[in-house]
């Protein structure tokens, strides 16, 4: 298993609750995940699985009525949950860059993009306006925006969706963060633009040596980008494995179902896909026992009463899954 010292981000036992009329409900349940230095982690899950909330909670950006109930999140050996607001402000946008999903609502519509890019540079890196302006031009060139000298004068509405997303990435990268967290940054974009952005991030990662967390619902999209994948279901990590291992040998029935749901080249025309029956539980209304049990083809009695722990299932310990059926398979083998 990867040594703890090499971990840039180490989240342990993170639990997030939401206030409802009938009291607090758990929406993220004891999540463990970590990102190594220089590593790219893919966080995969369907809507409502808690993937975005987990990442927002690291920056303490959770919306009202949603809060971290317990757990730790160490970044560079400091607990993000215990930092003062002042310390945290230094980390946000400084050591940790964030790219949000929707560039239309995340960019300030009445501020020129050059000024939005310069803001973190002036705040975090103490640059003068002139230096920040020059760096903003450089950043726009880095993310492949043509004519950056003129473009810094533009307002967000004057740019296309792909261009806006590039600006978001440029802002995330502005202070050369150690960690870039990207929350579905290409979901709203066309495949051709999506491919451009993936290529861009691959190149920048090598150039800047940063770690990346890429949140997505698309297993195909991240196949060539990430080193390791964490699969979330209803607020828990169900599987965690190196990327090649996960696609070649998925162990959790949910991961298997998810991979089988994606149409492949080798499929016969108009053949039926192996879909997972049922629907995911609503956030905050998780069933007792394993949250996947109601939809699971392998569910046993114990799955409906006990929650399986995320445990190593490979000799090296790098492949982990939370499933009673998987455990059994290993013992039998």
């Amino acid at each position: 298993m990867m040594k703890t010292e090499n971990r840039l981000l180490d989240v342990k036992d993170l639990t997030i609750e939401i206030d409802t009329r009938s009291g607090p409900a758990t929406i993220v349940d004891s999540i463990d995940l970590h990102v190594g230095k220089g590593e790219t982690l893919g966080v995969v899950g369907e809507s409502g699985c808690g993937k975005s909330l987990t990442m927002l909670s690291l920056m303490r950006l959770l919306p009202n009525k949603i809060r971290v109930a317990k757990g730790e999140a160490h970044f560079d050996d400091r607990d993000l949950q215990k930092m003062s607001n002042r310390e945290l402000r230094k980390v946000r946008g400084g050591d940790i860059g964030f790219v949000f999903q929707d560039p239309m609502t995340s960019l300030n519509p009445v501020m020129r993009i050059g000024d939005q890019l310069a803001e973190p540079l002036i705040y975090h890196r103490g640059m003068s306006r002139k230096q920040a302006r020059e760096r903003a031009i450089e950043l726009l060139r880095l993310v492949g925006i043509p004519g950056p000298e003129e473009r810094i004068q533009a307002y967000p509405h004057e740019l296309s969706g792909g261009m806006r997303q590039r600006v978001m990435i440029a802002i995330g990268l502005a202070c050369e963060p150690k960690l870039l967290i990207a929350d579905e940054p290409t979901t709203a974009l066309d495949v051709t633009i999506q491919a451009q952005i993936i290529d861009l991030v691959k190149g920048l990662r090598e150039k800047l040596g940063m770690s990346v967390v890429w949140i997505t619902h698309d297993l195909a999209l991240i196949a060539g980008l990430v080193d390791r994948v964490v699969v979330l279901y209803a607020g828990t990590v169900v599987e965690d494995a190196p990327v090649d291992e996960l696609y070649a040998n998925p162990r959790h029935p949910y991961t298997r179902g998810l991979l089988a749901s994606i149409p492949k080249l080798s499929d016969a025309p108009a053949s039926r896909l192996n879909s997972i029956g049922g629907t995911p539980p609503e956030p905050g209304r998780r069933p007792q026992g394993c949250p996947f049990a109601p939809r699971c083809p392998l569910a046993m009695d114990i799955c409906r009463t006990h929650v399986p722990k995320l445990e190593p299932i490979s000799a090296a310990g790098s492949h982990r899954a939370a499933c009673f059926a998987v455990e059994k398979a290993r013992e039998a083998a």
Binding site: G224, P263, R272, N274, P280
Partner: protein
Amino acid sequence: MGAQPLLKIENLVKHFHVRLGAFGERAATVHALDDVSLDILEGETLSLVGESGCGKSTTGFTILNLHRATSGKVLYKGEDLTALDEKRMRPFRRDLQIVFQDPYSTLNPRMTVGEAVGEPILFHKLATKAELDGKVAALLTDVGLPPRFASRYPHELSGGQRQRVVIARALACQPKFIVCDEAISALDVSIQAQIINLLLDLQEKYGLTYLFIAHDLAVVRHISTRVGVMYLGRLAELASRDALFETPLHPYTKALLSAVPETDPEHERSRKRQILQGDVPSPLAPPSGCRFHTRCPIAMEVCRRVVPKWKDARPGHLVACHAVNGE
């Protein structure tokens, strides 16, 4: 499978007239759809793909006369649908249905599932009031929902269940043809697969013809009989699924296919993508000649001036490109 055309679309054009500027002082024309001709064959799934703004949804809307065509014809049962007014269109509406992307905004929140599914049955007088409940129950069963869902309201259902209701409503008037306008795009991966299977089952059972509008090429490859690729309001290529995915001819199709990711990490890391530079130009002022020439890796002088002909490059494989020679 019959190879008879169910719908014949001839030189369909749709322009939207808009006013720009803070006071709407500048008139402009959006060239949403230009000179699109294609046949939709009985029993097939014809998919239209392309980037946002390429006119694939406009094609679906214009075929169904939900947008009035600027010019061109849509022939169904010997009648040109574009020439019909709303009243004369009504009997055809029964045969020609549509399923939209967002199952949240397409269902009336104040109508129960049973009322929503029953409405078209009563409208087209396909059953008496007494038979209605039985019909609705049968339709819900068809789309994989328990009949007791008839008394529920849309807000009580998940996205996938709502989309099943929308499909049941489209099926209610026993249509021949359904336009699926990004019908599965808003759903989660595991639910998408369920709805794809449902659409395939229903097609088999009722001999439906689909016009499937989507941007997810993996899904399109899975369910289509034929695939059309659109770029900026024009058809670039149209071929059988296998021909299009295995031997694409148009440079835009090639670029589009090379951008589609696969669930194979090794293949993904090593593959060389042909990445298109820049964005799609504005449909307000589409480029002259071939509309793709501004981003085309093999653009020639002629591409800037002359609109390429829509021609058979091989039997049944149509393409609009100067660089592709017909046989």
